[in-house]
Amino acid sequence: MAYTEEQLKKELETKEYEYGFYTNIDSDTLPKGLNEEVVVAISKKKGEPGWMTEWRLESFRYWKEMVEPEWANIHYKKPNFQDISYYSAPNKKPKYSSLDEVDPELLDTFKKLGISVDEQKKLAGVAVDIVMDSVSVTTTFKKTLAEKGIIFCSISEAIREHPDLVRKYIGSVVPQKDNFYAALNSAVFSDGSFCYIPEGVRCPMELSTYFRINQAGTGQFERTLVIADKGSYVSYLEGCTAPSRDENQLHAAVVELIALDDAEIKYSTVQNWFPGDKEGKGGVYNFVTKRGLCEKNAKISWTQVETGSAITWKYPSCILKGDNSIGEFYSIAVTNNFQQADTGTKMIHLGKNTRSTIISKGISAGKSQNSYRGLVQVNSRAENARNFSQCDSLLMGNECGAHTFPYIEAKNKSAQIEHEATTSKIGEDQIFYCNQRGIDTEKAIALIVNGFSKEVLNKLPMEFAVEAQKLLEISLEGSVG
């Protein structure tokens, strides 16, 4: 049968969020609301040293004085920050010595998510640090990594076990008062990942973390800190799913990357949080601050595939402080139904001969709004800085929007900055052409979208790319009428 508009609409309406299930595990949840006592309670629950508690309190005091930013091209009902519980941890004692001790229902959740926590991951060469509602439940392959001197653990553990490293670097790239959400995160972050690669070490496997919001009404405030010491290399993967919820869930993460001289960090994200239903009800609010610092000859690449969340506010950035350092940003952002995304990057050129590349692919369907916002800033001392930016938008249907907000600030005459932008629409002619070759409409859209996104998909590690490709197809199912 031919796809009529009516059938497509029906299919779109009946499509349920694939990962919309809810795990019923006893949780240890703090009452709603935020004040200094709550901040101290979180710190206490995690057995943190005094300096960390102080740091949190300091952040909270900054936050109290700040207002929510309103400049983004997104419209939503602001969360009531006193109506959120700021801590939720799976109730059973975390940290198991073997998988047999882990709550079977939790393992089942992992299975539904397609995560295998078992030895298979070793074969795949992936070490997983799973963050389920804020507390790391299990970390695999620590041993293999430890042999190389690599530290890969939850941030809570790092605060206890490696306080010097954490104290030196936390807040060094994203200061406590950087912005409203970063300040909030600094005050109440529940857990997250920590990674340290020693000098000259090439991390032998892709490091991977799965995030998941699981408790109704619990905001999740992840904190990630990745430090690549001189001449080291690491590829870090972050993947996310969340169950469907009626009320909006707030997520405000902070990710800090530090690439010391000659080091390289690849940070890849596949984000698939609940985007809300077809009426625009529910869905995750995602306000993230991600930033990396490059010292001399260092390189940081951000690659992201963003398909989820009702609201996305996210600008993974690079501060190119060291001479000859390189920053890259590769992004695919998909919005459907009533989703809104305002995402992009900032490339701050401070050192000489610094280079940055920005490739952004926005795909909008349904009634969604998709904005690219990017800043390329060349400081007065950044001789011979180079930037290339390319922003492509693909529209599906007549009710969605694509917007591009490029900002360029060059204070050095030797700077070379290029910006290219295109907007295209999936045409009926393209679909018919595919149909005529025996490819049905759904498959045709997947093919066209994958072709459009190819430059970015190619930047993802192999197994992640396959997952991302599937995600693109799922996110856009039935979106062309």
């Binding site: 005529q436 025996g438 498959k443 072709g451």
Partner: protein, 250 residues
Amino acid sequence: MLKIENLHARVDGKEILKGINLEVNPGEVHAIMGPNGSGKSTLAAVIAGKEEFEITRGKISFEGKDLDDTAPEERAHKGIFMSFQYPVEIPGVSVTNFMKTAINESRKARGMEEMPANQMLKLIREKSELLDIDRKFLSRSLNEGFSGGEKKRNEIFQLAMLEPKLAILDETDSGLDIDALRIVAHGVNKLRTKKNAVIVITHYQRLLEYIIPDFVHVLHNGKIVKSGGKELALELEEKGYDWLKQETVA
């Protein structure tokens, strides 16, 4: 194989086809000629199942089955292929990937397994040699930045890969120089068997020097006004379409 009876079709409320009758049997080559705006490309699109065309009267059947309510991809699975007058660009999708997808989708529809990679490679090698296609061409994005000739050759390459029962060539000769025309025609001729059929839609007689038709039909104002053998094409070339227009009016 293909049977068209009293076909009327319209687009945007305008009637374009006004009672077409045509029967194509296996092994036959039919040429459909006619001046611009006579409905040639509409006929091709209607056979392929393009949805914006509405059939108001009459019917099309393929291998004895009515094609009404058959989606374009299902028609393709049944073995109907159309070479586009203006092939569409799909950036980022290579010719190879596109063909792989098309072949496997058709196989899936027929309940077959996906074609093994080595078999696919062999097929690609064979067919690209047949059409004198450079291997590098196959990794380029589909039709993106292709010259007119490359686009048309790519259409015939797809025809060769998909091995349809009925091939409709819509103005395949337009935009081709004489060398490209020869290669394309040679490809089509090589693919001809007793089991498949070809409909060549063309404005000019030129292509028919290379792909010799068994029947020539002249389309004018949405109707076939004259049918004959291959000599009809020559007569048209000599006298022009005005001759027929006058004849039909008279």
